[in-house]
């Protein structure tokens, strides 16, 4: 669950737009007119809002048995109840929250590693690049999910954070590659040399010269990593390697299946978590294309 969908285009981020102010205003102009960006962002924000605020309005725990068993959606239980009488809506809302958390954490960790490796490899070059490249290739070739399964299987404690950490540790390589190639092209730009001539340290050059120039690219990479992390986490949850005792959309799906929701016709139990994940990740991807079109003058349409 890594690359491809809406991978930031091949356009050179450094050349996008001429600069500063004008770029910001133009970006905003296009952003406001890009339906993909608008639709994607509003769905993501809506889901985020539900995940953030939703739990505040629900006074019972997501796993509490509070209502009648197996009731279809109604005014009282918006998404019905599970066969134990748990409120599916409450689970969904909490699940969204932790899905966002896994995505942010897992995607964030992968992003940190990936960008750091990419920046350092691309900027430093030489033997450092060789080694990091090798590392990247090694991790890239290792089938992430299988590594995760093997690793997570032997973990003593399975929490959300640990899960996210492991996902982060395995899903960074393509981001590192992408950032590296961007860095390579940016690092040959004269202002980078000029910054060195101005007595700047490497990390400052990376953070204040290179990174800001690839910000759109970085944002897009993060989004993809986020989506990937959510999907991987859902997969792990589904085969029972999810966080113990937690709530997440993947775990909801797992328990819906484990408790025969499909066979018993409790569609309101197994549709929402899957649809939630699909909607979230899908709109993230669409948002990404939108961003690409906004940041990348080649793709803009008047």
């Amino acid at each position: 669950m890594t690359d491809v969908p809406g991978t930031p285009g091949t356009a050179d981020p450094g050349t996008t737009g001429a600069g500063g102010e004008r770029r910001t205003s133009e970006t905003l102009y296009y952003a406001r007119r890009n339906p993909k960006l608008l639709i994607g962002a509003s769905i993501v924000l809506l889901l985020l809002g539900i995940g953030l605020i939703g739990p505040l309005f629900i006074d019972h725990g997501p796993n509490q048995y509070i209502g009648p068993q197996s009731t279809p959606p109604s005014g009282e239980y918006w998404l019905g109840t599970t066969s134990f009488g748990q409120d599916v809506w409450a689970q969904f809302v909490h699940g969204l929250r932790s899905t966002f958390l896994t995505g942010t954490l897992g995607g964030g960790i992968a992003f940190l590693i990936g960008t750091t490796v990419g920046f350092v490899a691309g900027y430093k070059g030489g033997i450092v690049d060789e080694i990091l490249n090798m590392l990247t290739n090694v991790v890239l070739v290792l089938p992430g999910m299988v590594v995760l399964i093997v690793a997570v299987a032997y973990l003593d404690v399975r929490g959300l954070v640990v899960q996210a950490l492991f996902i982060g540790l395995t899903s960074w390589p393509w981001a590192a590659r992408a950032v590296r190639s961007q860095t390579l092209s940016l690092a040959s730009r004269d202002y980078v040399d000029l910054a060195r001539l101005s007595g700047r340290r490497t990390w400052r050059i990376i953070t204040s010269e290179l990174a800001p120039n690839m910000s759109s690219y970085l944002v897009m990479s993060f989004i993809l990593l986020f989506g990937g992390a959510v999907l991987i986490a859902a997969g792990l949850d589904f085969i029972g390697l999810g966080p113990a005792g937690g709530v997440s959309l993947g775990l909801m799906l797992e328990s819906a299946v484990a408790w025969s929701a499909l066979q018993l016709g409790l569609w309101w139990w197994f549709i929402p978590p899957g649809a939630g994940i699909t909607l979230l990740v899908g709109s993230m991807y669409i948002l990404n294309v939108g961003l690409d079109e906004v940041f990348n003058p080649k793709l803009r349409e008047l």
Partner: protein, 546 residues
């Protein structure tokens, strides 16, 4: 393996084949009856057979390979084998076979411990075996007799330790009603042994030519297969099956209404007595009162199980329960009572965090462990934790890997857990052995995980073991004393009876056991030891649909 018979091209004819599932947790890989827990389910029962069957309804032993037995004195058991039984390779069943089987126990195998009390086993005739005991323990001995499969001397006598433990025995030679036909990773196929001795001797004719036992898939897949009548009998716990049974005429279980299933074993809440508070009987009693079993039963189990008796004994052992005592001393869900007991014993919430502290004022928080992935138990643990919270006991559910949990509880590294290691058997001794066994070792491997030390209770248990199996009254007297101790101390807390999961499709095969007097009463469950408890009859009693 794998020369296919009928399965070759056209497959096994549907109306001659019984499809079952729910018993095997992995691909069949060995047919070695000594490798308990590893052999393909059916190896013992369908291929290899025991000397006796235990009939839980009658609380009696049915001679099987044996024709009769006799106790000349309490230290001697003489077993006579039936005449005319042949191994599938044509050799006759002889007394030496039984002796060899017993003597395999000198190797490191799971029943090595019988040699703790068996002194010798000799063939005193061609079909007569005499077993002498160094210490009479008829209950325990009969447990062996009614469970363990006899292996042929002519094939097994020369095996060494490694072969006994490792040999997959891919070409099993037994005496039973079925023989090995075929297997794949997701199935085990048995073919009827048309020369089976039982047809003549017992008048039992196996109905299905083939039994295809499907390796357990996920609940959802199993449910689909059952719904499509691709399997005839499922021995899985299928949540929500009650709705299917209600809805679908052709899917039946033993009872037509809750609990639908008979009971197979008791799920116990096991506290670690080495833990300060859990070592305190009052605290355990409070805990027992705090648990709202009905919530578990109607929740994750959708009423497919029943609450356990306060003694924890299964229904077939009703004779051994002292009902008067239970009425007086038994416990039931009563949160207020729980709070009261806690208060009296000095467990109160002084620091106002909502949870009680120990009488010394130490904060008290407990972890309730159930194996990860056991979804029903996980839910139950959640409920118990919630119940405990209501009376002010801080219990957090934890879901470690099963193997980790096993290792931990053997070493007393746990607070609370749920366990059901022992189930239906020929004697309640197995239960009391499980609860009271002494001495406590560094590792408790098969019994007394709670580490409850009560010499008196253990002594009573030993006496129960020594009680002749037909002396039910004598045994009940002992169990009554044991129950007095049990109910006072509650070393472990009985929760509910796990079901003897069985749901059958009547589309191809019918006449499944049920409470209806017109149908058989045997067990329709093919788990490992249930053949020896009479499930084998079911295979003869089912009838093909026209």
């Amino acid at each position: 393996t794998g020369e296919s018979g009928a399965g070759g091209s056209g497959g096994y004819p549907r109306n001659e084949t019984l499809y079952t599932t729910g018993t095997a947790w992995g691909p069949p890989t060995n047919w070695n009856p000594i490798m308990e827990g590893n052999y393909a389910v059916g190896t013992v029962g369908l291929v290899y057979e025991p000397l006796f069957l235990f009939d839980p309804e009658e609380n009696d032993y049915t001679p099987w390979l044996a024709e009769s037995d006799e106790w000349p004195d309490e230290n001697t058991h003489v077993i006579t084998l039936r005449e005319g039984i042949e191994w599938t390779d044509g050799e006759p069943l002889v007394a030496e076979d039984v002796v060899t089987t017993l003597e395999l126990g000198h190797f490191d195998i799971h029943y090595s411990n019988i040699w703790d009390f068996v002194e010798s086993a000799e063939a005193t005739g061609e079909r007569e075996v005499t077993v002498t005991f160094s210490e009479p323990r008829p209950q325990e001995w009969m447990n062996w007799v009614a469970n363990r499969a006899i292996v042929p001397e002519h094939l097994w006598a020369d095996k060494d330790q490694a072969q006994v433990n490792d040999d997959p025995n891919a070409d099993p030679v037994g005496t039973g009603p079925y023989v090995y036909e075929n297997h794949a990773d997701d199935r085990m196929v048995w073919r009827r042994n048309d020369d089976w001795w039982g047809t003549e001797a017992l008048g039992l004719e196996m109905s299905a030519t083939y039994i295809v036992d499907i390796v357990n898939a996920s609940n959802e897949v199993t449910m689909n297969m059952l719904g499509n009548h691709e399997v005839d009998m499922s021995n899985n716990f299928l949540p929500g099956i009650d709705q299917v049974i209600e809805r679908d005429e052709t899917i039946t279980s033993y009872y037509e209404e809750p609990p639908y299933m008979r009971s197979a074993n008791t799920a116990w809440l096991i506290p670690n007595h080495e833990h300060e508070a859990l070592g305190d009987p009052e605290f355990r009693r409070a805990l027992a009162h705090a648990i709202d079993i009905d919530q578990i039963i109607s929740g994750p189990y959708t009423n497919l199980v029943e609450a356990a008796d306060p003694t924890g004994l299964l229904q077939p052992w009703d004779d051994y329960i002292d009902h008067e005592l239970v009425a007086e001393e038994g416990f039931s869900y009563d949160a207020d009572e729980a709070v009261r007991i806690l208060e009296d014993a000095g467990y109160v919430d002084e620091d106002g965090d909502g949870y009680v502290e120990t009488p010394d004022g130490e904060p008290l928080s407990l972890e309730l462990a159930v194996p990860s992935g056991w979804t029903d138990w996980m839910e139950a643990a959640n409920i118990i934790a919630g119940n405990a919270e209501e009376v002010g006991i801080d219990v957090t559910p934890a879901f470690p890997e099963q193997d980790l949990l096993i290792e931990n509880f053997r070493r007393a590294e746990f607070d609370l857990m749920i366990n059901n290691d022992r189930g239906l058997s020929n004697t309640p001794w197995t239960y009391y052995d499980f609860i009271f066994q002494l001495p406590i070792r560094d590792e408790q491997i098969t019994a007394n995980y709670a580490r409850y030390e009560n010499e008196e209770a253990w002594e009573l248990t030993e006496r129960l073991a020594a009680t002749p199996t037909d002396d039910i009254e004598g045994a009940a007297e002992i169990t009554s004393q044991i129950q007095e101790i049990f109910l006072a101390d509650l070393p472990v807390i009985p929760l509910w009876y796990n079901g003897l999961w069985s749901q059958s499709s009547n589309r191809v095969w019918t006449n499944w056991p049920s409470e209806d007097p017109d149908t058989p009463d045997s067990y329709a469950t093919m788990w490992n030891n249930l053949y020896q408890l009479g499930a084998i009859y079911t295979l003869a009693e089912i009838e093909p649909v026209e």
